[in-house]
Symmetry: C2
Subunit: 538 residues, 2 copies
């Protein structure tokens, strides 16, 4: 067979040639814009020529701090299709983390949204590798700022070459992107994506048994483009000629609902907190969401009650998936097999709330203290993963050796696997509650709590305990209408029939909000810090 490499130029060139009329709808601070793929491709080529003028060479890192919009999409292709490395930076991280990340990657240029200027101004003197800031704005004028040198994206593009050829003869294993983990459990770690990995992963998203992204779809990646490449959805969508809807900055559940209705979105992707918010919106106001064939949800466990509410109350099919920054991210997707569809309702939703079956091309192992666990859905072990879109190291990071061993990625996630191959995340190793020598799953307790009609969000953490080592504490955010109505006792009573007595939380703490990471995951680290003092003192 020919040794034609799998490289990203194929993706954008396919959209340019065969789907030139299909559209990208982009919401920016200036409003809604619509571009065809012909236009997006020409603008991408212009940007590639601009990068060339800046002297960006094969292997150089170019950073982005931007929301989901068409300019970010152009950068997604112009950078790797010039041979450089797309570094998507989570702008919601602390200034220290952003500075750490830019320096770790040695970014030469930063493509930024106007609203991150204050963040960058605060750290600009710590960024010696950055040679310029390119502002992606609708406005004709550049904002006032001390960042320098500062460039105007559209002005640069206007001077660019719309027929700029992309790089050829690139090795498929060459780096195309780099992204740092969400820093849910510690400092962010850099993960490098190869062209090959990105293409194989994008193809997997097109499989009928996976997310089945196709030309017929209208795809809405709500997951930020700085979070694991928006789960690869932009790559798959461009490749397959899928219409894209990019929700831009500071969207609300209402804005999402309106976009879904106006653009007839068929598939949308985001973390559970996004869907909790949308669920609330759709329950309160009326929107036509009948176009949606799948809500794709990952990044944290999707509570069973939420999946059920989407499917049964709203008639919106729900797809629960699992992945990591280290895994590009798709690893599991929870789609019942044909012969499981007739399961009794409750079992079916148990299944859908699992993280699912492993994608083709990826292999897993679940390893407990005595070797591989038995596939009984009960025995717990750490999840190990390998495959062509799984990282084999952290970028120039000593933590590599703890996580990548004997050709496997050690996820730090504790799971069970059932007879059908469906994997269920019990907890992160760091979040598992070890009480009196036994394990309590914070995820299971959260799942049960979020099924309570009065509870909007809930996180369960371990606090130190003299006798039992650790005990669970439930942190609960009540829905507005239930504030002051639901008591600690009510909640414990509600949990009692579902769990062994020693699983029940020692206390229920009512909060206004659960602290979250930059991508919307519960930040249990912060919760623990917040509550630590109280319990250490006890």
């Amino acid at each position: 067979m020919m040794d034609t490499p799998l490289i990203m130029t194929q993706i954008i060139e396919r959209a340019e040639k065969y789907f030139s009329k299909k559209e990208v709808v982009s919401r920016t601070d200036g409003g809604i814009h619509t571009f065809t793929y012909a236009e997006i491709a020409a603008r991408t080529r212009r940007l590639a020529s601009v990068l060339g003028k800046f002297g960006i060479k094969t292997g150089d890192r170019v950073g982005t701090l931007a929301w989901n919009h068409h300019r970010h999409l152009e950068a997604y292709f112009a950078i790797p299709c010039s041979g450089a490395v797309l570094h998507t930076i989570n702008m919601r991280l602390s200034p220290q983390h952003v500075s750490y990340i830019v320096n770790s990657a040695k970014d030469r240029l930063l493509l930024i949204d106007p609203d991150v200027i204050p963040l960058l101004e605060a750290i600009k003197d710590e960024l010696p590798t950055v040679e310029g800031y390119i502002v992606m704005t609708d406005k004709a004028e550049l904002p006032e700022t001390s960042l320098s040198p500062l460039y105007h994206y559209e002005t640069l593009l206007a001077e660019g070459n719309p027929k700029q050829p992309f790089i050829e003869d690139l090795d498929e294993n060459a780096p195309a992107g780099i992204c740092y983990t969400s820093a849910t459990t510690g400092n962010p770690k850099g993960v490098v994506y190869s062209h090959r990995g990105i293409l194989l992963h994008a193809i997997a998203l097109g499989l009928a048994d996976s997310t089945a992204i196709s030309e017929r779809d209208v795809a809405l990646p709500v997951v930020p483009m700085f979070h694991v490449n928006a789960w690869g959805m932009p790559f798959a969508s461009v490749w397959f000629g899928t219409k894209m809807v990019l929700p831009g900055p500071y969207f609300t559940p209402k804005i999402l609902a309106e976009l879904i209705e106006a653009e007839k979105v068929t598939i949308a992707a985001g973390v559970p907190t996004i869907w909790l918010g949308l669920l609330k919106e759709l329950e309160e106001t009326s929107h036509d969401t009948s176009s949606i064939r799948a809500v794709l949800c990952g990044g944290s466990a999707a509570p069973k009650s939420m999946i059920k509410a989407f499917e049964q109350k709203l008639g919106i099919p729900f797809l629960h998936a699992y992945g990591m920054t280290e895994t590009s991210p798709l690893v599991f997707i929870s789609k019942p097999k044909s012969y499981q569809e007739g399961l009794p309702e409750d079992e079916l939703y148990e299944l859908k709330a699992k993280q699912g079956l492993v994608a083709p091309m990826i292999e897993i192992k679940v390893v407990g203290p005595d070797g591989e666990v038995s596939p009984d859905g009960k025995e717990m072990g750490e999840l190990l993963i390998r495959g062509p879109w799984i990282a084999d190291e952290y970028f120039q990071d000593e933590r590599t050796e703890d996580t990548f061993k004997d050709g496997w990625l050690y996820t730090g996630d504790v799971v069970t696997i059932d007879e059908e191959g469906f994997v269920k995340i019990v907890d992160r190793t760091k979040d598992l509650i070890k009480s009196g020598g036994e394990w309590i799953s914070s995820v299971d307790l959260e799942n049960a709590l979020m099924a309570h009609e009065g509870i909007f969000e809930a996180a369960v953490i371990a606090v130190p305990h003299e006798k039992w080592q650790e005990r669970p504490i439930a942190c609960v955010v009540l829905k507005d209408a239930y504030k002051g109505q639901v008591t600690e006792e009510n909640i414990i009573e509600f949990l009692k029939p579902q769990f062994a007595k020693w699983w029940l939380p020692d206390e229920v703490v009512f909060l206004d909000e659960i602290p979250k990471t930059g991508v919307g995951k519960f930040l249990k680290r912060a919760l623990r810090d917040q509550l630590q003092d109280k319990y250490i003192k006890n």
Copy 2:
């Protein structure tokens, strides 16, 4: 990213682990058998251990001369998953061709169906590399034959190891299979398939925009397993846990219709002659075919009238595709884009009768005398193809240099490409009729002829002509009810409104049958030989 290779062991191991309960239904001369993937995998491991006992090593070729059944499926995996090369041999070729092929590939073992024994007996003395014949039969006894040494497949399997480990650490570019072309235009040419090529091609079959093969499907490959690996369908089906139905030897349209009804087939694949036969069957007798979501048709042009009959009369969605032995085979698939679905009926069927849009990962070029043709659906040029599942040579064959040039496969097919990227095969270069310096497409004339209510099959060939160099002759097979009713004049009158005058065939020859290749394509070579004398004499 990890450098885990794409190798075939992943496919069978996935079915073994995650789809162990799903079934393969196999029709042999002994009746219908049903095996689960757990059983198929264990039998495949047994066969792999048997191959080891025969001393088969990495890179060795093992041949099969067999119909589509479960034992052939086991060989499909046991051979490459032992590191050896699966050589599927077209048993309908002439003894000379079979002998040529076995010697060219240097097959060490042949796995054969009982009914090919006479063929092999005739050539056994010309096969010095063959060390043994393994008969795949339901019967307990081996047949009487002069072939030697002769082995009994099931007896060998009974002694094999059901837990035999498959090969590890294989390069993804290692050869997994070899297949010779259909010999429609000359001597067969060997094409080697790599593990990587087979896996990427199988993944492409799973794409929602392609054939979308999934766990939910029941797949019936009617296309023989000796014809381009049954178009890769067995690889995709096993990988995705799809139930398979293998139709076995000497099936008739009636047997196919019954299998479809009994097993609730959802997708079936075969050449146009198969579907013409099935169409006739379904028009004459009643069968429930409501389970079918796609009839996949390639290998020769699918006449528009047939596509229409399937979709409109039978309500069976039709998928026209194009490929070659050299291309694994999938290159084009004719699925209207979302915005084309509203086209007027006639334009829609024109589109579906085209060969379609190129698959992701594959690139094409259409080159005429003045370079790349314009995408206007009119300008003709030769089709060039490249990509990771496209061959880069013929196996030890001098003809390599005519076909593989500057990194492209020169197909010898003349095509047009329209504004939407849809490619239409005008003709094979060798079948194009050059009349008075202009080109006449035999495919277009055949298409029109087959839309005549009285015509069952039609092939148009060129015969030499003093003045015009070549002129078209139509060879027509009438439907039984129309025999003696339809005249040459009727047919020419029927064509007249559709073509320029000089396109009309000089003569209509009525035949009982169009000669066909081993895979059911019109063998125009034979037709030309048959009619040559007559016209040379003129």
